[in-house]
Symmetry: C2
Subunit: 159 residues, 2 copies
């Protein structure tokens, strides 16, 4: 039925519909057991505080670890940016509620328009509420273009 | 030859020599690929700053994850306390040089005197320079006794 309907659309529109339907970044199930790459705390006053304030941890699946080690991220590589509130109290910064689970998902063809990476953010602890959606080019990739020589990845693995 | 010499020693001394030779906590090889449990930043002014100032990450091997999940840490469970300097600059706290790799290694018999856990600290990036050695009871276990009802473990897994 769907196929029949698409066949009646102009080709360009059909391609667009297909791209939109397939270019969704999946939730990174089980990322908390992946390798911890590095962490950082972004404090009030930092230029990125409104978006990234708090403590964040980067996690990499095995294919992403190949990229961190060798510089080439194969299709299927996934990097998670796990951002939590970071209450600072009694001279200690602890981990608070989750703000967003940011994801970079490598698929050179599917995400060709954004450097071969799909970008998404899952709000709080939701696996369905998408904070980026169709805005990846402006909301994520615009900054990541500065890392063109590093396959658009900012982070390095901390041994 | 060694056996022959031991046989000439009084039994108690021989037992002591045996205990000292076997109760060493091994370096937790490959812990950076284990599960990341949680993190914290301890700042100047905190009561534990002189010992634990900086950013620390806890890592657990699979047996230790059984303990975090179910409350019972089996022999072979290892928890790593990875402490790094945490320079605070331009409204961001980043990860600096490693200060110490703290280890809790579960072996109920071998480490019966300290709650079934062997405690050790490896200085900086060294896998051989031991910061705790024979002082585990006073340097580590004295504080951990407060967690007697949690098998002497302070941390909880952050989902």
């Amino acid at each position: 039925m769907k196929k029949l309907m698409l066949a009646t659309l102009p080709l360009a529109a059909a391609s667009l519909a297909f791209a939109a339907a397939t270019a969704e970044v999946p939730y990174p199930t089980n990322y908390r057991s992946w390798t911890h790459v590095k962490s950082m705390v972004i404090e009030p006053g930092h230029a990125l505080h409104s978006s990234f304030g708090g403590i964040h941890h980067l996690y990499a699946n095995e294919k992403a670890m190949q990229g961190y080690r060798g510089g080439k991220f194969p299709d299927g590589a996934v990097i998670v940016f796990d951002l939590l509130k970071a209450p600072d109290q009694d001279h200690a910064i602890t981990e608070g509620a989750r703000k967003v689970v940011g994801v970079m998902h490598r698929d050179a063809k599917k995400f060709a328009a954004t450097g071969g990476w799909g970008f998404e953010g899952f709000a709080g602890d939701s696996q369905a509420q998408r904070a980026v959606g169709a805005n990846a080019a402006t909301a994520c990739f615009a900054c990541h273009t500065s890392q063109r020589n590093r396959e658009f990845v900012f982070s390095s693995y901390r041994p």
